[in-house]
Every structure is written in structure tokens, then in C-alpha cells.
């Protein structure tokens, strides 16, 4: 989600809440004989507010799971998730008096910090990376379908090379033949002429397309790939150049897919921390609230 002017109201509201909370906390902390405590009236209020914001932020998952619920637009929920989630961190710090306390409260503080920091990190990524994705991956596909698309590309490449090989299939006798086309006489294509293409395909391109996770392939770099294909064109007859261009396009598409995979991981992998830790945080937070009432 882009953090744009639509967030202005949330930003202002969050700032007001933060400033008011700080204005309450500073004199309260200064005048508390033994420092601020989560058990005091003000400390408890901070704790309740912070936990309420956490619960609201956590309800975004439920809102997404049930899109037909008439409880506001998902965009509004997302903005609330973002700003109130961030706001929960200072409120909980005010609740605890910036102390980590015992094992459970320390675990809660660490979880909260990791969740909020990972959320802010994700929000920043989701603000910038979609633009980068649009620029660098114009033909972005569905992430889950990348392996399937990659298989199709490999198949296309195999077919392209097969078509070129088919052109010289009758010439296996190695006798130079002039192939008469409809109107003009074209160059004679021998097996030796297309041998560089076959070698290039077998040694460079196919391994590159087959092993998307492998590193160190020259074709993974656009400039080096361009130079390699330019060199290949000088080694094969002009009649094959069209096929070489197809192979070059396939390589380019493969590079885009790799770029998309990389950007996708940046865009979404932080959620593998953020979401599970959020569940743990809410669960332990509830336990803390109950046990704090006991002790």
C-alpha cells in the first residue's frame, strides 16, 4: 500500500494521540515516586489503549478473510492497521515505563518491537517496491505461476532451437546445398553454421533457464547477455537471427521472472515474521492482561 495523501487523516490523528499520550506520560513519570508502573491508573490506561490498538491491527487479517463484512473498506482497515499498530508501541512503552520487566513482559516487549519494526519495514517496502516492480517487471505474472511460466519458456526455447535444427536436417550429408526459396536464393545453411547456436544453447541458455535458483550465469546479467547474443549472431547465418532474437527474448523474460521473484520476496517475506509473531503477541498479551489482574 502506498503511503500517500489518503493517509493524512490517520497521520494527524495518530500524531495527536501520541502527543497527548506523551503530555500525560512525562509529568506522570516525573512525579511517580518509584517511576511509572503499569499497575497505576495512568499506566493501566496506556496498557489498555495499546492492547486495543494491537487487537484492531490484528483484526485486519479477519477483515481480509471475510471481505463481505460491512465494517468499512479494506483500505481504511489497512491504514488503521498501519497507524494504530505503530502507535501501540509508544503506548505500551508508556504502560511499562520503558522497562521490560519479567520473562513474560520482556517477551511481549520484544515481540511488540519485532512486530512493529517488521511492519514498518514492510510498509516502507510496499510503498516503494510496487513502482520498482512496474518498471523492472513490465510483464509481471502471478507469483504462484512463475514456475509454470518458466516451464513454458523453456519449452518455447527448446522448440525454437528445434526449428533451427530442422532447417539443416536435410543437410546431414554435409553436402552444401542451395535452398531455393520463392523469389530469392538464400545462403546455404550447414550443420556447422548452426553449431555455435547449439553449443550456446546447451552450455549457457538451457542451464540458465532450467535452474532459476542457480547463480553465476552470464545470461543473468542483461548487458553480458546482450553481448553474448550479439556475438552469437556473428557466428550464425542471418536466417537464424530471428530464432536467436526469440531466444534472447526468452532470456530477458527469464530475467524478469527472477527479478519478480526477488522483489516478491522483499515485498512479502517479512510477513512470515510479522503475522505469526503478531498472533503470538496477541495471545501472550491476553495472558499478561489476565495474570496482571491476578498479581
Amino acid at each position: 500500500m502506498r503511503i500517500d495523501s489518503t493517509h493524512k487523516k490517520w497521520l494527524i490523528a495518530s500524531l495527536i494521540i501520541f502527543v497527548v499520550a506523551t503530555a500525560v506520560y512525562v509529568p506522570y513519570a516525573a512525579e511517580s515516586p518509584y517511576g511509572p508502573s503499569g499497575a497505576s491508573g495512568i499506566g493501566l490506561t496506556f496498557g489498555i489503549a495499546g492492547f486495543a490498538f494491537m487487537i484492531f491491527a490484528g483484526l485486519l487479517g479477519a477483515r481480509k478473510r471475510f471481505p463481505v463484512w460491512r465494517v468499512g473498506r479494506a483500505q481504511a482497515w489497512m491504514r488503521g492497521h498501519l497507524w494504530l499498530g505503530v502507535l501501540s508501541l509508544p503506548l505500551i512503552f508508556f504502560h511499562s515505563g520503558f522497562r521490560f520487566g519479567g520473562p513474560l513482559t520482556a517477551a511481549l516487549m520484544v515481540l511488540l518491537i519485532v512486530v512493529v519494526v517488521s511492519g514498518v519495514f514492510g510498509a516502507v517496502l510496499q510503498h516503494y517496491l510496487p513502482t520498482v516492480m512496474t518498471e523492472q517487471v513490465p510483464l509481471e505474472t502471478i507469483f504462484e505461476q512463475i514456475d509454470r511460466v518458466r516451464g513454458q519458456l523453456l519449452e518455447e526455447a527448446d522448440q525454437t532451437v528445434a526449428r533451427v535444427t530442422a532447417l539443416v536436417a536435410p543437410l546431414v550429408t554435409a553436402i552444401p546445398t542451395r535452398v531455393a526459396m520463392a523469389t530469392e536464393e538464400v545462403a546455404v545453411i550447414t550443420e556447422a553454421d548452426i553449431a555455435p547456436l547449439g553449443t550456446f544453447y546447451d552450455r549457457e541458455m538451457r542451464p540458465f533457464a532450467e535452474k532459476p535458483d542457480a547463480r553465476g550465469y552470464a545470461l543473468a546479467d542483461a548487458a553480458r547477455a546482450r553481448a553474448m547474443f550479439e556475438g552469437l549472431r556473428t557466428l550464425v547465418p542471418p536466417a537464424v537471427h530471428e530464432s536467436v532474437k526469440d531466444l534472447e527474448d526468452i532470456c530477458e523474460e527469464e530475467r524478469e521472472l527472477r527479478r519478480q521473484v526477488r522483489l516478491h520476496h522483499w515485498l512479502h517475506d517479512w510477513l512470515l515474521f510479522h503475522i505469526p509473531l503478531s498472533f503470538a503477541l496477541l495471545l501472550l498479551g491476553a495472558v499478561h492482561a489476565v495474570m496482571a489482574l491476578r498479581y
Binding site: P33, Y34, G35, G38, A39, R99, G101, G102, P103, L104, T105, A107, L139, T141, I142, F143, E144, Q145, R148, V149, Q152, E156, T160, R163, E242, S243, K245, D246, D249, I250, E253, H268, L271, L272, I275, P276, L277, F279, A280, L283, L284, V287, H288, M291, A292, L293, R294, Y295
Partner: protein
């Protein structure tokens, strides 16, 4: 045939339209982690529960004094049957500690935990905040009659704390010993055996723990000052307390290291002020009551004349005292008459000069006519006023000289070198202490507890423990998560 040109449409054709029906690895991971991490959290808490250890719910580390109870939450957090809540109560504190009341006439008694805040890590529980004290002392009220204490104390500052009681107007030094500090600290003072000495503060003033010989004192002998002696340093009951007074000391506090030893003739004065009474003798009279001294003199002279009968025939007076009757020369005494005469002379010297140099003697009798029979006790002996030298000038506060040993004596007692009058009160004032003890990170502790104790430990009652060490250790040894 060239490859079909890439367009959005051609790319879209590659997509399996039912892809969303199959779980993706990323979603599987997200789901697995979303289940696993909360389960892990529950398992962590369950491990504490299985070990019957509620330490996980602690709000912070225990103070060093209670660190042994870290895993014994139930020692303080006692829940009543049928109630979920298990807050720490005064009852739990008082099962191990007695917390004597502050004053009998106090109108408010705070809970233990409101002043001694636990779960704040390595801090002294006795280090209470000023607010714990000023909640009453900022506007002090007492049951019944008006309190004799200052009623508005807010902090240890010039405007928040009253001047120390001995320095307030109207206070009088209760001591009766005549002492001129300036003379005693002069250079070239005539010392023991005619030597010239320069006295220093610690020749007379040392903390109690100091176990050194005294420069101008005597080795402890039978002549040492008896405790019953009115000349011994003592204080009037109530206002100025002797060191040994069992009042207001917290258990951690040792007055034996904190206060100066009481001034004593035998330790501090005898070297320069021997109580000689007759040239015939080299020893002194005991530093004791006039009655004891009289008995000593009678015995001393009786013993002497028994071994020196020639002195019963006296040619002339050997002691040139103004009040001495002119002897008839030559005069022959009976032994009893000789003893009475000598005792009268010696007592005249002692009561009118030697003792009076330091002590306030009341009703000094005139020189008696020499009785014929030996007097075991004369009709009138002077009364010696109790010395009343205060050992503790601040009975409601504590001070530790040992903690201040880095400073010279005159840093806090600057007038000691120039004071000439006994009535001069040389204890430092509030401003002197405030130079170091004030608010701020670069200052010494200035909170109330530094000098004042809340609990009146003289009222402390013994507590009979109920915990079993073995059962505690068994629980403590259990591994935690």
C-alpha cells in the same frame, strides 16, 4: 515460425486459472508459522505451569533482599480460597518482618508495598522515595495534641527542610563540662610529663569502631571510670541519646561504626590532667564521685601514716593554701587527726581547683575544722553536675562518621578550632550537608531515608518464621524454560 510476440494477453494465457485452488508454499509457511509460534508461546507458559512456577508473570527482577523468593511467588502473593486475585499484602510482609510503627500518634499508615516497591531489580527496598515521607510530613498532622515536630518538610533543601534542631534558636548545649576547643588545639600545649604537644581532633574524637590506644589516655585499669560515675559521658534521657540507646536504628545500621566514642576522662584527659592531690603521692585520685574520692583519700592517708609515723610531728605547713589555718609549730598530731587534716587539705585542692577546672561543682563546702576522730564520710561533699556531653546530637536522624572519613574534621566542623565557649554548638548545619547531599546525578544521596528511618526499630518484635528451606530449594532447583 518466429515466437509469438510477448503481450499481456499472451502472458495471461500462460496462467492456470485454477492456480488459487492449490496451496502455495508461501501460504503454507505462513499458516504453519502462524500456528507454531502461538503454540510455542503456550508451551513456554505451560512449562512454567507444570513446574508450578509463576515467575513468568513477574513484572521484574526481585530486589537483592528478596532474590531468594524469585520463584516463590506464593510467599508474598497469597490468594484466598475462591478468589482469583493474589496481590502481595502487608500480611505477607509481616509474616517475615516486623514493621514497627513510625509514631504512636501518626494518623496514616501506608501499606508496605507503597514504600518498599518490589520487582524493580537490584535496588534497596529501604531506599524509599521522598514522596513516601512527604505525603505526611509536607503537612504533618498527629492524633490528639499538636506535634512537636516541624510540620512542613518537603525535601532536603534549604527551603524544604528545617535547620537541624541543635542549631535552632532556643536550643542549649546540655553539656556541663568546661572545654575550650581553641586552647586544646593550640600549638605547644603542655602535655604529659612536661612535653609540648600539638593536639588533633582524633586525640579525643574517634568513631566507635576505632580500637586504637588513645594518645592522652590511660590503659584500662581498676581506676577506669565506672559506668555509674556521674562524670562519665552520659546524656539526659529523651533529648540527646547515648550511642547505645536502642532507638530508631534500622537493622542494617551499625551505630558502633557511625558515631564518635563518648568523651571519657580515662581515655582522653588523664594524660594531661592527672588528679594529683598530694606531693607525697604520685598517683591520682579516682575519677569518680566525691564519696569515692573521699573514701580513697582516707584510706590512702591512713595507710601512709601507718608507715610514716614521724610525720605526726609537723614543723610547719607544707601546703600553702590560703584557707589553711596557721599551724602551731611544732604540732604533734594523732594519727586520726593527721589523716583528717590531710584529707581536708586534699579535698580542698580537688573541689576548689582540680575538679572544678572541668566540672561544675555545686555547694562546695568550706574548709572544715579538723575533727579529732577520723571521718569516714564528711558531713558535706560537693555535688558534681552530670557531664551530659551529647553523643548523638540528632536523635531522630542517623549519621555515619565512618562514611565521611575522607573529609577533614574542619570541613564540617569549621568552628572547632576557634571555639572557646563550652556552649558553642559545633555540629554542622543543614547547608553544610546540602553542599554534597542535594538532588542530581553528581551529588550524594539526599532522600529522606539517608538520615531518617521510618520504622521505630526499638519496637521491633521477633518474628517466628514459617518457611522450610528444603522445600524452597527443591522448587528452586527445578529447571525453568
Amino acid at each position: 515460425m518466429p515466437r509469438e510476440k510477448r503481450t499481456t494477453k499472451t502472458v495471461a494465457k500462460r496462467i492456470d486459472l485454477n492456480y488459487f485452488k492449490r496451496p502455495s508454499p508461501w501460504r503454507r509457511w505462513r499458516f504453519a508459522l502462524s500456528v507454531a509460534l502461538p503454540c510455542l508461546a503456550v508451551a513456554w507458559l505451560a512449562a512454567y505451569g507444570v513446574a508450578r512456577n509463576s515467575h513468568a508473570y513477574s513484572t521484574g527482577k526481585m530486589s537483592p533482599a528478596h532474590a531468594v523468593l524469585t520463584r516463590q511467588c506464593g510467599s508474598c502473593h497469597i490468594s484466598q480460597a475462591g478468589f482469583f486475585r493474589a496481590a502481595a499484602t502487608d500480611h505477607a510482609c509481616l509474616s517475615c518482618h516486623d514493621g514497627p510503627i513510625h509514631h504512636a500518634d501518626q494518623v496514616f499508615t501506608p501499606s508496605c508495598a507503597s514504600c518498599h516497591v518490589e520487582h524493580r531489580g537490584r535496588m534497596r527496598l529501604a531506599a524509599t522515595a521522598d514522596q513516601s515521607c512527604t505525603q505526611c510530613h509536607a503537612d504533618l498532622r498527629a492524633k490528639g495534641a499538636a506535634t512537636s515536630y516541624v510540620t512542613h518538610v518537603r525535601a532536603f533543601t534549604s527551603d524544604g527542610h528545617p535547620e537541624f534542631a541543635p542549631l535552632r534558636a532556643g536550643f542549649r548545649d546540655p553539656g556541663t563540662i568546661k572545654l575550650n576547643h581553641a586552647i586544646h588545639l593550640k600549638a605547644g600545649l603542655l602535655g604529659p610529663n612536661g612535653t609540648r604537644v600539638q593536639m588533633a581532633c582524633d586525640d579525643c574524637h574517634r568513631a566507635n569502631a576505632a580500637d586504637q590506644s588513645w594518645r592522652f589516655g590511660a590503659a584500662p585499669t581498676s581506676q577506669s571510670q565506672p559506668a555509674s560515675s556521674p562524670m562519665a559521658a552520659s546524656a539526659p534521657a529523651g533529648q540527646i541519646m547515648p550511642v547505645s540507646a536502642p532507638r530508631m536504628f534500622p537493622p542494617s545500621y551499625s551505630p558502633a561504626r557511625a558515631y564518635m566514642q563518648p568523651i571519657s576522662y580515662a581515655r582522653h584527659c588523664i594524660g594531661c590532667h592527672p588528679l594529683l592531690f598530694d606531693k607525697r603521692f604520685t598517683d591520682s585520685v579516682p575519677h569518680d564521685t566525691p564519696e569515692v574520692i573521699h573514701t580513697f583519700l582516707v584510706k590512702r592517708y591512713t595507710d601512709y601514716i601507718a608507715t610514716h609515723p614521724a610525720e605526726l610531728r609537723e614543723a610547719k605547713s607544707t601546703i600553702a593554701l590560703p584557707a589553711k589555718p596557721v599551724p602551731i609549730s611544732p604540732r604533734i598530731y594523732t594519727p586520726q587527726g593527721w589523716v583528717n587534716t590531710r584529707v581536708a587539705e586534699a579535698e580542698n585542692l580537688l573541689w576548689r581547683k582540680t575538679c572544678k577546672e572541668c566540672h561544675a561543682l555545686s555547694s562546695v563546702p568550706p574548709p572544715p575544722p579538723v575533727p579529732a576522730a577520723p571521718m569516714m564520710m564528711p558531713a558535706a561533699l560537693p555535688k558534681v553536675a552530670k557531664s551530659n556531653i551529647p553523643v548523638r546530637w540528632f536523635p531522630d536522624a542517623e549519621f555515619d562518621h565512618q562514611a565521611h572519613r575522607a573529609w577533614t574534621c574542619t570541613t564540617c566542623h569549621p568552628r572547632a578550632t576557634t571555639s572557646q565557649a563550652t556552649a558553642d554548638i559545633l555540629v554542622p548545619g543543614e547547608k553544610t550537608c546540602e553542599q554534597c547531599h542535594h538532588a542530581g546525578a553528581d551529588a550524594a544521596e539526599a532522600r529522606c531515608f539517608e538520615c531518617h528511618a521510618y520504622h521505630d526499630w526499638s519496637r521491633e518484635k521477633p518474628v517466628k518464621g514459617t518457611a522450610h528451606f528444603s522445600s524452597w530449594m527443591q522448587i528452586a532447583r527445578r529447571p525453568t524454560s
